[in-house]
Structures are given as structure tokens and as C-alpha cells.
Symmetry: C2
Subunit: 460 residues, 2 copies
């Protein structure tokens, strides 16, 4: 809930800025969320044109929209009852879109088959995660249900797991090895749960959040072997799969690796894998569209999951459309392709530029140390002077939360503190999102550098 304090103070500062309270900066920059549009990234024209035309079909009669936009909108509307995006859809999502998702997965995974009946579209991936957790958590057992979670870990997932009455069992990622997931550590964590709870699942985030790593195929194989031996359900949060960059890094899905490992593993390991239209190049967080693919689940369990999903009728139709457009963007030769290509290339270039500059700048600041980054977030370690730690203690705050509040107050930049995600005792971090326009990231780095230098001086 640290973010809440930050968010509240940020709102106050925004109001103060309109009231002309004197501040060093005119504008608050918020890179604390995995939310590209909030940070200034522009939506893709193709996506917005198609969805706007579906909402207001009179636009289909105008030749101001490219012909492939109009065709796509017409085809999407055919999947809606009454031809309106205002109708409920089937519980698992519009059938044509569910098929599109499974085709995308099959293509992405080099032909490892994906079946539409295993896919559930949801209003965002967290929502789907909670429904799956709901099936795994046994609230009537004498021992509480445990879920192995990475440390550091996306804080909302921790809240979801604990909110359902389960216990999170942290396994440490090795910061010094680029936040590597090591199997010995999974064994240690599982052992540590003995007598405390009954672990039933392992939760992984790849590409990493908050720490921006990307797992290798070998690492994924080891994890799959581990869950198979220990009979754990595998929850793979893969929502940042489109934000991978840098040499020698490639996203490979858990589903693909599992399929390639062959029987008996590929027929037995129970896997739920999550993806979303909120991240990647679309960045359409506000439309709320995600999905989960279930692998090797018992049909009776899937039936129960269906029932859970059905209590919310369906995911937002326009979020479903966003997924569809993400799964099948314009292709070379389509009228919308050139613009689409320019826009996505622009985002990609910014991402590559940003990660390079962030590492350059942050690693040159005394007291900061950042591992190589291959995903959408950076999570540099912050070596704070003892006086700063003492001051935070006096104020009843975690040291990195204190740092973030000061950064907001003095530089109008919002990042989030490592304490929100869990971190090795005695270490401190900050997390920020690097999927922003280049000039935004440059401004963040300028403000951070100048703030940090002063901060270190003040507390030296």
C-alpha cells in the first residue's frame, strides 16, 4: 500500500501545481505503473480506428478510415449478438476471438497446438489469476494453502494470493546473477513451508516484474521439472512477453517449453499461462482485456473454472477486441500496415534507447547498481547512506519508500519502492517502467540524477 501514499501525494502535488505553488518542475511524471499510455506512449492508430468504428458503425460508411480497418470492424461486429458491442458475449469470450487467441499461441510456440476450449478471456490477467487461484486454495483444509512466489514479486499478485486466504512462500531471485531463478532456491523455499502451509502451486513471472529479467529456455525446463517432481500447479504470468529487447534475449513461453519436453511431462504438468492487451505495444490497460490458457487440467476442474468466470457474465467487449487486434495486427500489403509499422517501430526504438540510457545513467550514479535489463522494468539496487536510513526510521517509513517520497516531492517523479515487492533483508530498490517516449525517459533521468546527487549529499 506504499503506492497509495505516493499516489495520494502525487494528486496533491498536481493540485498544488495548478494553484501555482512554487515547484521545481511543472509536471509530475509517473513511471511507477506498467502503463505505457500514462507515461505518454501513443495508442496505435489501427487499434483505435477499428474499435471506434465498432462502437459507432456510421464510421464504416466514411472513406476516411482505411478499408482494412472497416473490414476488420465489420468482421468483429459479426461476432456480437445484435451486431452491437453493447451485448454480453459468451463467458469465455467471443468465439472468433478465442479461436484467434489459440491461433496466435500456436504460431508463437512454433506449432505446439493450443485449443480454443482451454482459453478464457477475462477483464485483465489479474482477474483470471484470481479465478484460477480460487480453485487451488482450499479454505477448509487444516493447513493453509501455500503458493511459491518470487521475491521480488509484482505486489498485486501477492495481494491476490493472500486475499484468498493462501500463504505466499517466497523464493529469492539471485540479483547478482541478473535475477536468476535457481532451482536449489525453489527446493529451499518448499522445504521452508513444511509445517507452515501446504504448497500447491508455483507462481513465476517471465519477463520479470519488478526486475525486468527474461528466463532462458534452460531455466524454464528446470522449473517445469521441479513442479512435475513436486506435483505443483504452475502459474506463469507472461504479460510482458512483447517487451523483450537486447541481445541474447528472447521470450520463450512456458507452454512451448513444456510441449517441447514431450511426454510424460507435456501430458501431466498443469499449467495456467496469462497474457494481456495492457502491456506490449498496444498498452491498452484501460480497455481491460486479458486471457488465461489452461494446459492439462481435468475437465471437471475446467467446468468449475467456467462457472467462476460466468458469475461476471463476460470480459469487456472492447477489451476482447483489443486482444483480437493484438493477436492479428495488420500484415505487409494491408493499407494500415505502413502506419502500424512506423508506430510500433517508434515504440521499439524508444524502448531500446531507454534501456541503454537508463543503465548508463543509473549505473553511473554513486549508490545505484542495476542488473542488465531485458524486459519492461528496471529495478536498480539503491545503497542508501546510514543517515538516510536513520531518517526514514524516524519517520516510520521503509528507507526506499522514504527515497521515493522525496523524489516525488523534489523532482515530481513517481517510481515505486522495492519494499512494495519484497526484497532481500537490508537491500533497497526502486522500480520504474521504461516503456515511455524517449524524451520522457530523458527527463526522468535528468531529474533523478540531479535529485539523487543532492540526496546523497544531504545524507552523507
Amino acid at each position: 500500500m506504499k503506492q497509495l501514499v505516493l499516489a495520494r501525494r502525487a494528486s496533491q502535488i498536481k493540485v498544488e501545481l495548478t494553484q501555482r505553488v512554487r515547484k521545481p518542475y511543472k509536471e509530475v511524471i509517473d513511471v511507477s505503473w506498467g502503463d505505457p499510455h500514462k507515461a505518454g506512449v501513443k495508442p496505435l492508430s489501427f487499434v483505435r480506428q477499428v474499435i471506434a468504428a465498432c462502437l459507432y458503425p456510421q464510421l464504416l460508411n466514411s472513406d476516411r478510415l482505411p478499408v482494412d480497418v472497416r473490414q476488420r470492424a465489420q468482421s468483429l461486429l459479426k461476432g456480437c449478438d445484435g451486431g452491437s458491442v453493447g451485448s454480453y458475449t459468451a463467458t469465455r469470450g467471443i468465439s472468433e476471438i478465442v479461436h484467434r487467441v489459440s491461433e496466435f499461441i500456436t504460431r508463437r510456440d512454433g506449432g505446439a497446438p493450443s485449443y480454443p476450449e482451454n482459453i478464457f478471456i477475462s477483464p485483465g490477467s489479474q482477474w483470471a489469476l484470481r479465478n484460477i487461484l480460487n480453485v487451488l486454495v482450499n479454505s477448509e483444509a487444516s493447513h493453509r494453502t501455500g503458493v511459491l512466489t518470487p521475491m521480488p514479486c509484482y505486489s498485486v499478485s501477492l495481494m491476490s494470493i493472500r486475499g484468498l486466504g493462501a500463504v505466499t512462500v517466497p523464493y529469492n531471485l539471485r540479483e547478482e546473477q541478473g535475477w536468476e531463478l535457481q532451482v536449489e532456491e525453489l527446493h529451499r523455499a518448499l522445504e521452508s513451508a513444511k509445517g507452515v502451509c501446504d504448497p500447491v502451486a508455483l507462481y513465476v513471472i517471465n519477463p520479470g516484474n519488478p526486475a525486468g529479467y527474461v528466463q532462458s529456455r534452460k531455466s524454464i525446463q528446470e522449473v517445469i521439472q521441479f513442479v512435475s517432481e513436486k506435483r505443483l500447479f504452475l502459474l506463469a504470468d507472461e504479460v510482458y512477453q512483447d517487451c523483450v529487447h537486447g541481445e541474447n534475449s528472447e521470450f520463450v513461453s512456458y507452454k512451448r517449453v513444456l510441449a517441447e519436453m514431450g511426454p510424460p511431462l507435456s501430458d501431466t504438468v498443469e499449467l495456467a499461462s496469462f497474457h494481456s492487451a495492457s502491456k506490449g505495444f498496444l498498452g491498452e490497460c484501460g480497455l481491460r482485456g486479458g486471457y488465461v490458457e489452461l494446459v492439462n487440467l481435468d475437465p471437471a476442474v475446467k467446468k468449475y473454472i467456467y462457472k467462476l468466470f460466468s458469475t461476471d457474465a463476460c470480459a469487456p467487449v472492447l477489451g476482447q477486441f483489443a486482444l483480437d487486434l493484438m493477436m492479428k495486427p495488420p500484415q505487409p500489403g494491408d493499407p494500415s500496415y505502413p502506419l502500424y509499422s512506423v508506430e510500433t517501430q517508434h515504440i521499439r526504438t524508444a524502448l531500446v534507447h531507454n534501456v541503454k540510457r537508463v543503465l548508463e545513467v543509473v549505473n553511473n550514479l554513486p549508490g545505484f547498481c542495476c542488473q542488465p535489463v531485458k524486459g519492461a522494468f528496471v529495478f536498480p539496487r539503491l545503497h542508501l547512506p546510514p543517515k538516510a536510513i536513520q531518517k526514514a526510521k524516524e519517520m516510520g517509513m521503509q528507507p526506499d519508500a522514504f527515497y521515493c517520497i522525496r523524489l516525488l516531492e523534489e523532482a515530481s517523479v513517481i517510481v515505486s519502492p522495492g519494499c512494495d515487492y519484497g526484497q532481500k533483508e537490508g537491500t533497497h530498490h526502486i522500480r520504474f517502467h521504461i516503456m515511455t517516449p524517449e524524451d520522457t525517459m530523458e527527463e526522468v533521468l535528468r531529474r533523478l540524477s540531479s535529485f539523487h546527487t543532492q540526496f546523497m549529499k544531504d545524507f552523507s
Copy 2:
């Protein structure tokens, strides 16, 4: 889950129709959902124009959209971070929209104040209901938590309550008195829970679903008195508040009646009231926007509810916009007003026409008997011949589900069976939605009459 069987068979029939399997009707008509657009009602132009312009702001530069549409879109976009509907919003919803909701409630309730900090926008009302139930259900107590629920009751709410591990304690609505809620029956139901569960809340649906009644102010006062005496939390599902018609019927909210009853009741009774952009004239089910207003809740409880909402980041932005537009539609003098007025009047006229015709036709069919209807659904009682009941038994089906399947097979009309909602032992009903275009309802009635006459003959 009866609806699932129907829905599946309906999909098959739709496929058979495209394959030219000979059927008596060319088109399936589905009036089993509270979904106006699915049944052919047209979306409101103003709503769609504003939201399309927010999605694709290039439309703001065109004078093809009325000036008030463009102004409204610009003002809504100001509430979005980065000026994009693709950004996450605050957990409780965009602040300006939350304020708009509270202004709407205050106006609707004759000035009884509503406070923005008590309002949470959600992706639909059921979603909000489940979050509130989550706080009320104690899964660790020795007795299971109980919730008093009407019989008949909207089936998804029953699923939500039971899905959280609580027990539903039915109180009967008196069909012969127009589905009246009688306080003696609440006492009886509460008494019946003794030794079975620990009732903590009373759930009411007004206007009624499935039974289309509208509660009087006096009836609401009695309910409030009852929950106050018995220290029950009051859950008021009021999503059909805009679908009230007929003489001597007026929707009065629980919130208003509670405020008008004055202290100590108005300061102590804990109330959660639900509303949605899915029903009423907008009928935007697919955009997923609803809200809950909380009254007299302890701040610590509200904080916990905030945390539950925050695990899903936020409601879909365009669903939030739909709520905003519902709360403040075009006013006389605005450029969009004339069209808006024609479109809503058209829906209203159809509703009044449909209810009159449904009662005329259904009450003239032998074996049918329908109470006066003031809301969006009719729930006529069906006196089935013993041979039909016997046949249903042989097929392992509830008699009214058997009737519905036959209606679908032979007349391509989908309605839902009373057994989905709970009904007095030995009685049978069907439910259907009457917010449809006039010609659709006429066609439904034509097919129903001819099917029913044959059905009664076949089983006489």
C-alpha cells in the same frame, strides 16, 4: 446452469440454420438475458459518438459530430492520464465520474446527500456485489455465513453468494400479491436459519429480477426496519431502476427511503446499493460499467473494500464513460438532445407497448398466468399438464426447463426456466426480457402462442 444447456443448443440451432437444416423459423430470438442490444434495441447515438471520439480523438477535428459530443469527449479525456482511455484509472474510478455518480444519486433521491468517497465504480454490478460479499462472509467461523435471498432470485447472485462459501436463506415473494415482499416471511426465513448458518445480510432486488415487480416506499420502509432490528447488512440490487413503467409505479431507492426515515436508522443501517450502465436505456452490457454506493460503513471496512477493488486495478475506462453519460445525458437545448430524446422515447414506447401486449397474450393462453409487470422482466406461471411433467421427469429435466428446450427447438425462441431462479415447490415459470423492439416482441408472442397451443394439445 440450465441456461448453459439452452445456450449450447441455441448455438447448434444457429449453425443448423446456416446449414439450411429445415426449421420452422429463420432466426433464433433470444430474450433470456437482461440484454437489450442482444434483443435488437439500438444503442443511443450520443453515447456511442462520445465514446468513439474518446477512443479515436482525430474524430474531434471533424464537424460530423455534434459540438456537445465533442465537448463531452474532450472533458472526459481530461480525466484520463496521458489523455488516453488506454491508461489505468484510480481504483474507485475516474474522480470526475465518481463525482458525477454522486451528483446523480443526490438528484435522484430528492437531495438526500451522496458522497463520492462512498462510491466504487466496477466492471458491472455483480463484480461489486462479490467484493462486498467477500467482506461479509466469514469463512473461518464455526457456523457458515448466511444471506437472506428472495425466491425467486436472479440466479447469478445466488451463484456469487454460494461461490464465496455462504449459505442462501430463501424468503418467498408472494406471487398472488404481485410478488410482494412480506416482512413476516423475512422473520420466518431468519428463524429457519437457526442452527444452519449465521445470517449477516439481506439481499433485495428492486425492481425485481426475475419477477418484474417494483417495491412500494412502505415495503422498503418495512425492510429497513427489519434489517435494523436484526442487525443485518442490506444489499440492494437496483440495476433495473430505469425500466419502471405502468401506472402507480415509481422506483424509489433504498438509499432515499433510509435517508427519509431519519436518525437513528439513517445513521446506522449499513447499506450497499448497486447500479449499472448495462440496463435501462443505455443497455451497454458489453462495456461493463457499474457502481456500488456504501452507506454507514465503518471506515476500516471501506479501506478493506478499497483493497479488494484495487487488486483489479480499475473498471474498464469506456464502461466508466458509459456510466458518466448515463448519469448526465444531453439536456434540452443541447445539439444532441433532439435525437437523444427521440431514441429514448422510442425505447420507452416499445417497453410500454410490450408489457401491455405480453400480459394480453400470455394471460389469454390456457395454462399461463402472469402477475402485473412493472419492470423489465415477465415471469408468468405455467400450469403444465401432468403428461408434460411426466415426460420431463423421464428425460431427467425440470418441467419448465423441458418446456423451454421445446420452445427453442420448435419456435427458435430462448426464454429461461423458473427452476433457474428458485420457485415454490410444484410451481413452474418462464422468464423473459421485454426491453426489445416492438416487432421483436410481437414475433416472440406469435411464436410462443402457436408453440404453446400445440404443446398443450400434445400433452393433454
